[in-house]
């Protein structure tokens, strides 16, 4: 397994509750861009509350950077709540679709790898396979690295979403 970028540099995970209105994502990305913050991924979707979305953003940088980002995010009127959950006990997952070269010779080997990673094969053709995988970014990255020896055709990743675990189980 090759080292992935996420292990080399520090990344932090920030979640936010935001208004589900036109242009809100633009406000967020515009602020991050203009203040020169680097983000690794950003995922948004509906929340459990009507008219509110939840967003997970993985940012590059240490504590001081993430503090600046959360303060700036908090300043946006359309953002209701911001949390830096990096140090919390969290569940984080990402979905990836990976299309990889595959013929009759390599198919069974790929299927073995897929099984080990508890991923799924969702499409097969004579020359390729599409694999669906979920997991944290390290697992996805590891799977992707393994599959790369067969020749990656296309990789699509949703970016990480994350949630706090309950404290008392």
């Amino acid at each position: 397994m090759t080292t992935n970028d996420a292990n080399n540099s520090t990344t932090r995970t920030v979640t936010a509750l935001v208004n589900d209105k036109p242009g809100v994502l633009n406000r967020i990305t515009s602020m991050l861009r203009r203040r020169g913050f680097n983000i690794q991924s950003l995922a948004v979707g509906h929340s459990e509350v009507d008219h509110l979305s939840r967003l997970t953003v993985v940012v590059e940088g240490g504590d001081d950077i993430v503090e600046k980002i959360t303060k700036q995010l908090h300043k946006l009127i359309d953002i209701i709540k911001v949390n830096d959950i990096s140090d919390d006990n969290i569940v984080s997952r990402e979905l990836a679709l990976i299309k990889v070269n595959s013929d009759t010779k390599t198919r069974s080997e790929i299927m073995q790898i897929v099984a080990i990673y508890r991923a799924k094969i969702v499409d097969v053709s004579s020359s390729s396979i599409i694999i669906e995988a979920t997991g944290d970014d390290q697992k996805i990255q590891a799977l992707q690295d393994l599959l790369s020896s067969f020749g990656l055709i296309e990789v699509m990743r949703t970016g990480l979403i994350a949630m706090n675990r309950e404290k008392n189980k």
């Binding site: 242009g23 633009n26 515009s30 600046k68 303060k71 300043k75």
Partner: protein, 557 residues
């Protein structure tokens, strides 16, 4: 509906220019006698005038503009208000909803364009949201850390009828400005103040915005702490007070910079450690701990680490501090400061027959008893005005700080004079900036606003020329104005009384004449063309690199 909302917000003056998309709003204006519309000559003027009005009154300034170029002309003014935390509400006409996104005539995405330079903005797409949106706009503009808010309204909504719902209160879940103060931090601040031997208060624009003048004075006196102002903080602490220690930064007083550098505690209130103050932030005031009070949490720790962060309105934080601190004195520190002031006088004038800009400002200060509202543009004249015009009274200095927007001096003076009609407004202008917005002389003449203009005319973009002299071996590229108009004739064309001054002896009579004249006056001061502003700390440098005075070579010049 818009007018009704504005009246509910207590708006009296609007600065703007009509056009196609905003016409339905203009056509109903005469029905609302309480709203006085000032027809400016360029939308930049509308935004700067609303800004000057807001700074002078503490109320939100309102600007109207039509879609497309009307709105883009507002941009510099909105950005200026954002940088200096000034509450303005811009109401702009947009093309009708059915044609939004089709590149219709005079269509532009002004909410997109102003996204990074407004505190918040709105595109109203449902007429039933209009009242609530305007209510929210004023609330956001004027509370917390103030700033500009833009409301873009499509023409068909301005023409339409809907249910007018103007809520009494606003509830914006994502916007809850802090109205209290963390007592734990106040306690920690008090401990630092108690331990400190060389404390200094660094008081910024936040003092004026939250009207914390008395609290600042009380804290300074109770603990005998010297006060340094930022440029935007000028006129928040009386300059004739024995604890007043000037303002620091690139062109601030040498002693102010040295005091900050030698202090062991900086209590920064309502300011944001701008690079013009810190120079190289890694080497700024290393010997001191910092208590940083600001209503905007994102300003704390942005540039300078805060040992005690206090997210709060300046007035609330200072009144809590005053209550909690123990009285103390700092005799040795004040003696040290006196020595610094004596050894680094900074603002002494050269003895010369030439007409120096600094001399004009000093005379103006004397002849107006330091009691006028001063509005400036940006550049050398701004620095000289800030150095030599000192204020004992509250909220008298209006200048473009963070944005550094040349041309601010004409429309902002217009807004300030309308906001405070009974006070004398002097616009200290540069010849460069003045030429950018001088079309507003027409507005000033039309409304007979008794603004006095003092143009510090050196025929150069003076500050840029100074940089070229010091850092580019006197290579004066594009800074010398050859085709400068005769400002006296120009003023006369606008039916404004004007005088030209070329000699030192004419300064006093000209200023007295202007003060006596009942109406707008322009004085064109033809000054020494290559005078530099000192002291100077070059950009990104430190207090050790400060140039306090011109070199002997320069004096000969």
């Amino acid at each position: 509906m818009v007018c009704e909302s504005l009246i509910r917000e207590g708006v009296e003056h609007i600065f703007g220019i009509p056009g196609g998309a905003i016409l339905p709003l203009y056509q109903v204006l005469p029905e609302y006698k309480k709203l006085k519309h000032i027809l400016v000559r360029h939308e930049q003027g509308a935004a700067h005038a609303a800004d000057g009005y807001a700074r002078a009154t503490g109320k939100a300034g309102v600007a109207f503009a039509t879609s497309g170029p009307g709105t883009t002309n507002l941009v510099t003014g909105i950005m200026t208000a954002k940088m200096d935390s000034v509450p303005i509400v811009a109401i702009t006409g947009q093309v009708g909803r059915p044609v939004i996104g089709t590149d219709a005539f005079q269509e532009t995405d002004i909410t997109g364009i102003t996204l990074p330079i407004t505190k918040h903005n709105y595109l109203v797409m449902d007429i039933n949201d209009l009242g609530e949106t305007i209510k929210e706009a004023f609330h956001i503009a004027t509370t917390g850390r103030p700033g500009p808010v833009l409301v873009d309204i499509p023409k068909d909504i301005l023409q339409g009828n809907g249910v007018f719902n103007y809520p009494e209160n606003v509830n914006i879940p994502g916007y809850k400005p802090n109205t209290s103060v963390n007592q734990k931090q106040i306690k920690r601040a008090c401990e630092l103040i108690k331990k400190s031997k060389r404390p200094v208060l660094l008081a910024g624009h936040g003092i004026k915005i939250s009207k914390a003048y008395d609290e600042l004075l009380e804290l300074a006196e109770k603990c005998q702490i010297p006060v340094i102002n930022t440029l935007l903080g000028l006129s928040s602490f009386p300059a004739n007070h024995f604890l007043y220690c000037g303002w620091p930064g690139m062109h601030g007083m040498a002693y102010s910079n040295l005091i900050l550098d030698q202090s062991d505690l900086i209590i920064a209130v309502g300011m944001r450690f701008d690079d013009r103050i810190t120079g190289n932030p890694d080497k700024f005031a290393l010997g001191s701990k910092k208590i940083h009070i600001d209503i905007d949490a994102s300003e704390i720790g942005k540039i300078i680490h805060a040992d005690v962060p206090i997210v709060s309105d300046a007035k609330i934080a200072l009144s809590n501090l005053v209550k909690s601190v123990e009285e103390k004195t700092h005799v040795a520190w004040l003696n040290q400061i006196d020595r610094l002031k004596n050894n680094h006088p900074s603002l002494a004038l050269r003895d010369t027959e030439k007409l120096l800009p600094q001399f004009i400002i000093k005379e103006l200060h004397e002849l107006t008893n330091g009691d006028s509202i001063i509005v400036t543009g940006v550049g050398q004249h701004q620095m000289w005005a800030a150095q030599h015009y000192t204020f004992n009274d509250k909220n008298k200095m209006i200048t473009s700080g963070g944005a550094g927007a040349m041309g601010y001096e004409v429309p902002a003076a217009l807004g300030a004079q309308i906001g405070r009609p009974n006070e004398m407004v002097w616009s200290i202008a540069g010849d460069g900036g003045f030429q950018m917005t001088m079309s507003e002389l027409a507005t000033i003449s039309e409304n007979n606003l008794p603004i006095k203009f003092a143009i510090i005319n050196n025929g150069f973009l003076g500050m840029v020329r100074q940089w070229q002299e010091l850092f580019y071996e006197k290579s004066y590229v594009s800074t010398s104005y050859k085709g400068i108009p005769d400002f006296v004739k120009l003023a006369e064309a606008f039916d404004i009384y004007a005088l030209k001054v070329t000699d030192k002896t004419q300064v006093k009579p000209a200023i007295l004449d202007a003060i006596k004249h009942d109406g707008p006056v322009l004085i064109d001061f033809i000054v020494e063309s290559e005078e530099n502003v000192y002291p100077m700390i070059p950009s990104g440098a430190t207090v050790q690199d400060m140039m306090e005075e011109p070199s002997s070579q320069e004096i000969k010049k």
